[in-house]
C-alpha cells in the first residue's frame, strides 16, 4: 500500500546548512565555470537543483556519432573526455579533448537531429547533467550563455581560411576594409512596426520599402524581434491568419552587434549563429540593421581584406602601423578557436603579402633586376608555420650569368636590394635572424649554380655541423620573382638525395639527438638552471623534433611539399610510419602548435615578448596530460627513425 508521496524537497527550510550542502557543491562548481559564472545567484540555484550526476568509467562511450542527439548538456566535474569524429570512409579521429569544467553535447541537443561526434571518457569521469529543457530555457533567457555554447558550434576561421584558399585572395583595390570598418558605418536604416501590427500590414510595409526584414518594437519602443521573408513564407505555408499580430511570428533576435565593432566581428557572429540579419546597437539604442548581403559587398571577394590594407601602402613607413595590428588579429583568431594550421596559414598569407609589397617597393627604389631572381623563405616561414614571433629566414637565388661583368653587376644589384628588403622587414616588425640566414648575407644571395654547389656539398660530403645547418634550407619556398629557379634547385637536390641515401642517415642521426622532455617516470624534464629554470622549450623540444622527422620522411619519399601538415598528408600514402600514425601525428602537431600560440598570446597580453618556453605548472591537468602523450608519440617516432635508419646511421 503506497503511502502518500510528498513532492521531495518541497517543505525544506531555506537556511538548512546540510540540505544546502549538495546543492552548494554544484552551485560553487557552476559559479567557477563558464558560461555558468555569468548567471545570477537565483538562476544558478535553480539550475543546480535541476542537475543530475553520472559516472563514466574510463573508455565508456557517452555519446555516439550518428546516434540519437544528446538529451543534455554534460559538464565535466571530474576527469576528461575525448571527442572523436569519423569522416566518410575514414577511421574515427580525435578532434578534441575536454577537461574539468568543460561541457559537451550542446550542439546535437540544439540541432536535435543526430549526434555528430563520438564522446568517450578519457579518464574515470563524473559529469553534471543539465537536461535538455532546462538547458534550452537557460539559453533563451541568457544570450551570453547562448553565445558561449554556440562558439563551439562553428569553427568559423577554419571555414574562412578554406574559403580564402579557394579564392586565392583575389581582391580589388576598392574593397572596404573588413577589419577596420565599424559595423555602424554600413548599417542600414531600420524600418520598424509595433508588435501589435497585423501580419498583413507588416508584409505591406516590407513590400513598400523593398526590404527583406522588419524590426518589431514592443510597447516601450524597444526592439523585441525581427520578421523576415523566411517568417512570412512560414505564414503562407501554415495558412495562418493574416490578421494575427506580427509578434506571434517574429523571431526573437538576441544577436546584436555594437556599432563600434568591426565588420569582421559582425560576420563572425552571423556565421556562428547562422543568421542573415543582425541589429546594430549604438549607445544602447537601435542604430540600424546589417544583412549578410551588406557584408558580402563589403568584403568583396576576399574575406581577409586585411591584406588590402597592406596593398594600399606605398612606403615601408606606411606598412609598419598595419603590421602592428597583426597580433590582435591573430589573438582574435586564436580566441575564436581556429585550428593551429589555419592560424599559421593566415599569418603566412599575410606575411607573404607584406614581403611581396616590400620587395615591390625595393624594386621601385633600385630599378629592374639585371637577371631574373627568386626570393625564397625557409625555416618556419618556408613551412608556413609562423606564429607571433617570426625571425626572418630568407635568401635570393638569381639566374646564372654568362659574363664576369654581368656577374659583378648582379652581385652589386642584389646586394643593395636585399639590404633594403631585410631592413624594411625589420622595420615592419620582423626581427633579423640571429644566425644570419638572411638574403643580405652574401652567402645566401647567390646565383643558381652556387646554390646547387651548396646542396651538392651538403648532400655528398655530409659533415655533422653542415647537415644541421642545411636542414632548414630543405623547407625553402618561393615567394617572389621567378619561381622556376627555386623549383629547379629543388629538383636538383631531390635527384642528389635519391643517389646519396647516406645523407638521410646523417640527418636521422642528427634529429634523434634532440629528444622531447619526458623523463622515465612520465614527469617533465625541465631546464635545471638559468633564466628558464623549471620551464621547457616547446619549440626546441616539441615542434622541431616533429618537423625534423616529417621532413626526413618527405625527403626520403620524394615529397616536395614544405608545410609539415601537407607533408604528413602526402606521406600517408607513401610512408609506412605515417600511414600507421597519420592521425596521431596530425593531432600532436596541432596540439603543440596551438599550445605554443596560446602561450605566446598570453605572454603578449602580459606585455612580454613572445617566447617558446613553457612552465608545466602553468598548464592545466588536461594540457599536461596531452603534452605528455604528444611527447611520448614523438619519442616513439624517434625510436622508429633509429630502427629504420640504423643501417645508415654512422
Amino acid at each position: 500500500m503506497p503511502l502518500t508521496i510528498n513532492p521531495p524537497g518541497k517543505k525544506i527550510e531555506q537556511g538548512d546548512p546540510a540540505r544546502i550542502m549538495i546543492l552548494e557543491e554544484a552551485i560553487n562548481f557552476l559559479k567557477n565555470n563558464p558560461p555558468f559564472h555569468l548567471l545570477e545567484e537565483p538562476v544558478l540555484k535553480d539550475v543546480a537543483r535541476s542537475l543530475s550526476m553520472e559516472f563514466y568509467p574510463r573508455g565508456s562511450v557517452i555519446l555516439k556519432q550518428d546516434g540519437p542527439p544528446s538529451e543534455a548538456v554534460r559538464i565535466i566535474k571530474k576527469g576528461s573526455v575525448k571527442i572523436l569524429m569519423r569522416t566518410e570512409g575514414e577511421m574515427d579521429s580525435v578532434i578534441d579533448f575536454r577537461g574539468e569544467g568543460d561541457s559537451f553535447g550542446f550542439v546535437s541537443l540544439v540541432a536535435g537531429d543526430r549526434q555528430k561526434t563520438t564522446v568517450i571518457a578519457a579518464d574515470d569521469s563524473v559529469c553534471y547533467i543539465l537536461g535538455r529543457d532546462r538547458a534550452l530555457r537557460l539559453i533563451e533567457a541568457n544570450p551570453a550563455v547562448a553565445e558561449f555554447f554556440m562558439s563551439h558550434l562553428t569553427r568559423f576561421v577554419d571555414r574562412t581560411f578554406e574559403e580564402m584558399r579557394g579564392r586565392r585572395l583575389s581582391y580589388s583595390g576598392t574593397d572596404r576594409l573588413l577589419f577596420t570598418t565599424p559595423a555602424g558605418d554600413i548599417a542600414k536604416e531600420v524600418i520598424t512596426v509595433s508588435e501589435d501590427t497585423t501580419i498583413q500590414e507588416a508584409a505591406r510595409v516590407m513590400t513598400a520599402h523593398s526590404i527583406s526584414s522588419l524590426i518589431i518594437l514592443n510597447g516601450s519602443n524597444v526592439p523585441a524581434g525581427i520578421v523576415t521573408d523566411r517568417d512570412l513564407r512560414k505564414v503562407v505555408a501554415n495558412a495562418r491568419s493574416l490578421t494575427e499580430p506580427v509578434k506571434y511570428i517574429m523571431s526573437i533576435s538576441l544577436i546584436r552587434v555594437d556599432a563600434g565593432d568591426s565588420c569582421f566581428e559582425a560576420i563572425m557572429k552571423m556565421i556562428r549563429y547562422n543568421i542573415h540579419h543582425m541589429l546594430v546597437i549604438k549607445d544602447g539604442e537601435l542604430k540600424g540593421i546589417i544583412t549578410n548581403h551588406d557584408l558580402l559587398l563589403l568584403q568583396g571577394t576576399s574575406p581577409l581584406s586585411f591584406v588590402t590594407d597592406i596593398e594600399k601602402q606605398k612606403t615601408v613607413e606606411g606598412l609598419a602601423p598595419v603590421c602592428a595590428k597583426m597580433n590582435n588579429i591573430i589573438g582574435l583568431l586564436i580566441q575564436e578557436g581556429a585550428k593551429a594550421g589555419s592560424v599559421t596559414g593566415i599569418i603566412t598569407e599575410i606575411n607573404d603579402r607584406l614581403l611581396k609589397k616590400v620587395i615591390e617597393i625595393a624594386e621601385e627604389e633600385f630599378g629592374h633586376p639585371p637577371v631574373p631572381y627568386c626570393f625564397i623563405v625557409f625555416g618556419s616561414e618556408g613551412r608556413k608555420e609562423q606564429t607571433f614571433k617570426t625571425d626572418q629566414d630568407n635568401a635570393v637565388i638569381y639566374a646564372d650569368t654568362s659574363s664576369a661583368v654581368a656577374k659583378e653587376e648582379a652581385k652589386r644589384y642584389f646586394g643593395a636590394l636585399t639590404v633594403f628588403i631585410n631592413d624594411s622587414l625589420a622595420q615592419t616588425g620582423f626581427p633579423s635572424c640571429p644566425a644570419d640566414f638572411m638574403a643580405n648575407n652574401p652567402k645566401w644571395c647567390q646565383p643558381l649554380g652556387s646554390w646547387k654547389d651548396y646542396f651538392e656539398k651538403w648532400i655528398t660530403r655530409p659533415m655533422p655541423d653542415a647537415v644541421l645547418k642545411s636542414l632548414i634550407f630543405f623547407d625553402m619556398r618561393p615567394v617572389y620573382g621567378k619561381f622556376s629557379l627555386c623549383d629547379e634547385l629543388r629538383s636538383f637536390y631531390f635527384q642528389l638525395l635519391a643517389k646519396n641515401k647516406i645523407f638521410l642517415g646523417h640527418m636521422a642521426n642528427m634529429i634523434v639527438r634532440n629528444s622531447p622532455p619526458i623523463g622515465f617516470f612520465k614527469s617533465f624534464v625541465v631546464e635545471k638552471s638559468g633564466e628558464h629554470k623549471n620551464e621547457f622549450d616547446l619549440k626546441l623540444r616539441g615542434v622541431m623534433p616533429l618537423n625534423d622527422i616529417v621532413r626526413l620522411f618527405a625527403l626520403e619519399s620524394g615529397v616536395k611539399l614544405t608545410t609539415t601538415l601537407d607533408r604528413i598528408s602526402a606521406l600517408k600514402a607513401r610512408h609506412p610510419v605515417v600511414r600507421e600514425y597519420h592521425d596521431e601525428i596530425v593531432h600532436v602537431f596541432e596540439l603543440i602548435m596551438m599550445l605554443r600560440m596560446h602561450c605566446q598570446y598570453e605572454q603578449i597580453k602580459e606585455g612580454r615578448s613572445p617566447g617558446n618556453f613553457i612552465n608545466p605548472d602553468r598548464l592545466s591537468n588536461l594540457e599536461k596530460k596531452s603534452v605528455r602523450e604528444a611527447f611520448h608519440l614523438i619519442s616513439k617516432l624517434q625510436g622508429m627513425v633509429v630502427e629504420m635508419y640504423k643501417p645508415l646511421i654512422v
Binding site: 500500500m1 503506497p2 503511502l3 502518500t4 508521496i5 510528498n6 521531495p8 524537497g9 517543505k11 525544506i12 538548512d16 546540510a18 540540505r19 550542502m21 549538495i22 546543492l23 554544484a26 543546480a48 537543483r49 535541476s50 542537475l51 543530475s52 550526476m53 553520472e54 559516472f55 563514466y56 568509467p57 565508456s60 574515470d124 563524473v126 553534471y128 547533467i129
Partner: protein, 213 residues
Amino acid sequence: MLFFQRKDKSLLQAIEDAEYTVLDTETTGIDPQKDSIVSFGAVKMKGGRIDIGSSIYRLINPSRGINHSSIVIHGITPSDVAEEPLIDAVLPELAGYCGNNLIIGHFISLDLKFINRELKRIGRTPLKNHLVDTCRIYEWLKSNEGSFSRHYSGRRDDLDLFSLAREYDVPFAEGHNALGDAFITAQLFQKFLSRLPGSGVKTVQDLLRIGKA
C-alpha cells in the same frame, strides 16, 4: 497472483533503469532498541544518475539525550534539535519519499531497524522496500575480482564509508552528516553500478542476490 506478477517484473528490471533512494541516518547511539534518530538524509538515483535537486534532509528532536560518543560523530547537539519536529511528524514523509524504490545504504539494515521500530510505534506500516547494502556489494566485487583481494581487504575496519570513498576516489569531508553520507554512498553506488553489468549483475534480482541487506 497479480501482486507476484508485478513483483517479478520489477525484479527483472535492468539495474541501469531501476530507481533508488540512497539513505543515511544519524542517531543518538548505536542500540536500535533504545536509541533514536536525530537526522536523516537521502538522495534519489535513476540508474546511475544522481538527482542533485531531489535530496531531502531532516533534523529530528529525539526527545531523549544524545550519547556523547554520537555527538562526536555527527556533531548534532541536543540544543540543535530542541526546536525540531518529533520523529512522528517526519517519518511518514520519509516513507513517502522512498516510495517503491530500492533503498541503498552503507550498513543500511541498521538504519532500517531504527526507522521501522519508530514506524511501528506510531502505528504505521514498516518499510518493506528491498534493501541493498553498499558494503556487501563492495565485498562481492572484491571477492569477484580474485581470491587475493578478499583476503587482502576483508578486514572489518576497512569497510567504513570513508575508507571506501577514498578507495573509489569519491570526494568527502571529515565529519558525518546524514545527507553528506547519503551523497557519498550514492557516488560509491554509482561507481559500483558501472562495474556490475560486466560481472554479470544485470537485473535488480542479480543486485539483490549479491547485495541484499
